[in-house]
């Protein structure tokens, strides 16, 4: 159980470098339609589009991928609810409870302070937060979409205004998150829902993680970043990434340490 008080997270404050300033200038000069690049599925097309329709001389966006070296177990198994009965099915052996990396981990890229934020998608899915750790740019708005079929009532005790309001299915909860954190977020209706909100500076993008620990960032401007892996509101792995324009990057495996509880 995480405490309700902000804890220092593992992210190191970044001093804006010359490269960083260049990258930021390039991002500011570049137009928004990165979607176009995704639609065509090619960085070349994006570069061409940028070259043809936008400001000449802009740095090209790249894709970053990699794999997390996951430990045998990510931590405590799903808590068994208070119940009268829990019996084995008697037909087939029960399975060990492996936590889902998609729900437990979050991979982000952080640049210099003021880096453009691509935004991260957070939500409630399957009856829990996806992912459980949510990193936001300090002072920005956190948006959590309810993808479940039942309302949720998320709240953060030590965050003014983040009270237990009902969020209907398909709707989103938006709250401005000040610097600090992590903040423990809970659901009043479902005590098994427990997450963390971390407010940082220089947040650039959130990676998409699959069930095997493979992650991917798309449409990242060239530059130097910190790749950080969060779990339960803390940085459990990080590395510096230097992205060159025009070339996708596959990062070496980044090992995620087991939780302290283990």
């Amino acid at each position: 159980m995480m405490s309700g008080k902000p804890r220092p997270h593992g992210a190191t404050a970044q001093v804006e470098s010359t490269a960083g300033r260049r990258a930021r200038a390039a991002r500011h000069a570049r137009p928004r339609p990165l979607v176009l690049a995704n639609v065509f599925g090619s960085n070349l097309l994006a570069l061409l589009a940028g070259a043809l329709f936008l400001v000449p001389g802009m740095a090209a966006a790249v894709a970053v991928s990699g794999t997390l070296g996951l430990p045998e177990s990510l931590g405590d198994a799903t808590p068994v609810p208070d119940q009268y009965w829990e019996v084995r099915n008697g037909i087939l052996a029960t399975l060990p409870d492996h936590l889902d990396p998609r729900r437990e981990l979050l991979v982000v890229l952080r640049g210099a302070e003021g880096s453009e934020n691509n935004g991260c998608d957070y939500g409630l899915r399957g009856g829990d937060l996806m992912p459980r750790t949510m990193v936001v740019e300090a002072g920005s708005t956190l948006r959590i979409t309810n993808n479940d079929a039942t309302p949720h009532e998320l709240h953060v005790d030590n965050l003014d205004g983040f009270t237990a309001l009902s969020t209907a299915p398909g709707m989103a909860r938006s709250e401005r998150i000040p610097a600090g954190g992590p903040y423990d977020v809970e659901d009043k209706l479902y005590p098994h829902i427990q997450g963390s909100i971390v407010a940082v500076t220089g947040l650039v993008a959130c990676g998409h993680l699959d069930a095997h620990g493979a992650y991917q960032f798309s449409d990242v401007a060239a530059g130097t970043y910190q790749l950080e892996v969060y779990r339960a509101g803390e940085v459990v792995a990080h590395q510096e990434v230097e992205l060159a324009a025009g070339a996708d990057v596959t990062l070496p495996e980044l090992s995620v340490a087991p939780s302290q509880a283990e």
């Binding site: 799903t78 808590p79 208070d82 099915n89 052996a93 299915p169 479902y190």
Partner: protein, 624 residues
């Protein structure tokens, strides 16, 4: 005294009875409360067991759904699909139809909310509730997560704003877990009634936060609906108790409270339900109405006829009646009879048959009252004409009447006698001016025949108020001769001068007696009205009397008194014809006997004096 004691006894008994009734009421109420609390604890245990049993029964009941071939194949197909974003409509439709069919077969255990989820926890089919949006799932709910790992269990959810008791069973197909069946039964009115059916007299309610979701009022077998309605706890009662229960730390720490007040009408135990929703503020209440103990009066009014008939009525009616009669007796002895006695004397004073009240006849307050009334009489008489006198001895004039008329009904009595009430009223005397009467003539004392007893000196009776008739001329009153002549010239035995007693308080209107010159006299201590003074008999007179018999002496005394009386009457120019010695003696004897018997005097002396210009006789009892 008896009535006071009786009042005290009655008051004490009443107080003790009231205290006993109130203490019994409080004790019974406390005992009833303890019994009620014990019942509530047992009720809560019963509810827990019922919930446990119900959960197990539901796990067993959904097993046929989980092993149904169509369900298994449908979930298998859903789990195996490559594109997680879509699912074939045929698969979903087939699952829906099968779920409806199988759920209908569960009868009482049918689900209000039924899910079929694939291996990822995504909802493939759903009965009840709001249709889920595409891709919605339940895989992260611990119950479903555990079911997908192979466990069957139960939980309590708040789902789509309703509270459900949930149960989940894994679905196995092809040697692997392909999904789960999740069964929910709403914790609403039907569920409360189903659980409360086995708890007679218990009010079972479900709540979420401060809201009551459902209430079932248990009834006793054979209980009338009116009784149930009157004794049932209302939602308001339960809500009132819930507000205090939610602030009770015991609810969070141990999952339930101690028995608490449920409004004013009952008590209840507030518990969290087992499951996730229990930590989200969902719970249940077992409550019972308090047995209302009626007040003693209401108990009497509401007592059933059979109970009233079973009471020991002879004792209940007899004991108070005996106490009542005793109270009446004591009251009569202490109040009624003394009052009647006082009333008779007051009436006697009022009609003139006596002058004053006889104080020794009364006790306690009546005695003080009679004394006060006597003083009042004196005061009134004094103000009326200065004729108020201390009580005078009996006046034979009043008894014998006017010698002219030779009243045949002459009688004798003392106005100062304690038994004066027994003496017929003396006819009103002739009007007399309040002139100073002549001093009485001394007369020898009459030896007493009866055994003497201490005779109290009776207070002097005040003279009657003088009527308006013109007073007689009282030449004899002014003439001092007769009286001394009656006492002095008597040659012989003459003990009378030594024993004549003056009134205690000589008044101006009272004639002087020889007692005034005799220092050696004594006064009767008991006689409050002591106007009659008892003088000691000089030794020489007693010695001289030894030579003669008592009868002879008495006759001599009577003769002397008679002679003095005749002489005085003559001097007062009153007729004496017809007043023979025999008749005079008979009257004296009769009067003497009365005085002796009523005063316990040894002897009685008679003296003659002039009163209002007429000859009069004064009788004085002597103790010695």
């Amino acid at each position: 005294m008896f009535s006071r004691f009786w009042y005290f006894v009655l008051a004490a008994l009443t107080g003790i009875a009231m205290a006993a009734v109130l203490l019994a009421h409080v004790s019974l109420e406390r005992r009833t409360g303890r019994v009620l609390d014990g019942d509530l604890r047992r009720d809560r245990t019963e509810v827990e067991l019922s919930l446990r049993t119900e959960a197990r029964q539901r796990l067993d009941s959904i097993l046929p759904i989980a092993v149904n071939a169509d369900i298994r194949s449908g979930l298998h197909a859903a789990t195996e699909r490559r594109d997680r974003s879509t699912i074939e409509a045929t698969v979903r439709g087939a699952l829906n139809r099968k779920l409806v069919e199988l759920n209908g077969q569960l009868r009482d255990g049918h689900a209000d909310l039924l899910f079929a989820v694939d291996g990822e926890g995504e909802i493939i089919s759903q009965l009840g509730g709001t249709a889920p949006q595409a891709g919605a799932g339940l895989g992260a709910f611990p119950l479903v997560r555990r079911a997908l790992l192979g466990y069957a269990g139960d939980d309590t959810w708040i789902y789509q704003e309703k509270v459900y008791r949930m149960a989940a069973m894994p679905v196995i197909d092809g040697g692997r877990y392909v999904g789960a069946i999740v069964h929910g039964m709403e914790m609403g009115q039907p569920f409360a009634e189903m659980l409360g059916r086995g708890l007679p007299g218990v009010t079972l309610a479900f709540y979420r936060d401060a809201s009551i979701l459902a209430v079932h009022v248990g009834t006793f077998e054979g209980a009338e609906s009116a009784d149930v309605h009157n004794n049932a706890l209302t939602r308001q009662d339960l809500t009132t108790g819930l507000a205090s229960a939610l602030s009770d730390p015991a609810l969070t720490e141990s999952g339930h409270t101690s028995p608490l007040a449920a409004g004013d009408a009952g008590r209840g135990i507030y518990s969290r339900v087992i499951g996730s929703a229990g930590r989200a503020g969902v719970g249940y209440i077992v409550a019972r109405p308090k047995e209302t103990l009626l007040s003693p009066v209401d108990s009497l009014l509401a007592a059933p006829t059979a109970d009233v008939g079973a009471l020991p009525w002879p004792l209940i009616a007899g004991a108070p009646m005996v106490l009542f009669l005793l109270g009446l007796l004591f009251f009569s002895l202490e109040r009624e009879r003394p009052f009647r006695r006082l009333k008779a004397q007051v009436e006697a004073v009022a009609d003139g048959s006596r002058d004053r009240l006889n104080v020794p006849d009364h006790r306690g307050h009546f005695r003080k009252l009679s004394e006060s009334m006597n003083r009042a009489f004196d005061s009134v008489m004094t103000k009326a004409g200065g004729a108020a006198q201390t009580r005078k001895p009996a006046d034979l004039e009043e008894i014998l009447g006017d010698t002219k008329s030779e009243s045949p009904q002459s009688y004798f009595g003392f106005a100062s006698s304690n038994d004066s009430a027994d003496v017929p009223a003396v006819p009103p005397a002739a009007p007399r001016p309040p002139a100073r009467p002549a001093p009485p003539m001394a007369a020898p004392a009459m030896p007493a025949r009866a055994k003497p007893r201490p005779a109290p000196p009776a207070p002097a009776a005040p003279p009657r108020p003088a009527p308006a008739a013109p007073p007689r001329p009282a030449p004899a009153m002014a003439a001092p001769a007769p009286a001394p002549a009656m006492a002095a010239p008597a040659p012989a035995p003459a003990p009378a001068p030594a024993i004549a007693a003056p009134p205690r308080e000589p008044a101006a209107a009272e004639p002087p007696t020889m007692m005034a010159s005799m220092p050696n006299f004594e006064e009767e201590e008991d006689d409050d009205e002591g106007a009659t003074m008892i003088a000691a008999v000089p030794e020489e007179l007693l010695a001289r009397s030894l030579d003669q018999g008592p009868a002879d002496l008495e006759q001599q005394e009577f003769r002397k008194v008679y002679d003095a009386f005749i002489e005085t009457k003559r001097r007062c120019n009153e007729p004496t014809a017809g007043l023979s010695f025999e008749k005079f003696r008979g009257t004296l004897e009769k009067n003497r006997d009365q005085i002796v018997s009523k005063h316990g005097a040894k002897r009685v002396s008679f003296s003659v004096y002039v009163k209002n210009g007429k000859a009069a006789l004064k009788a004085t009892p002597h103790r010695n």
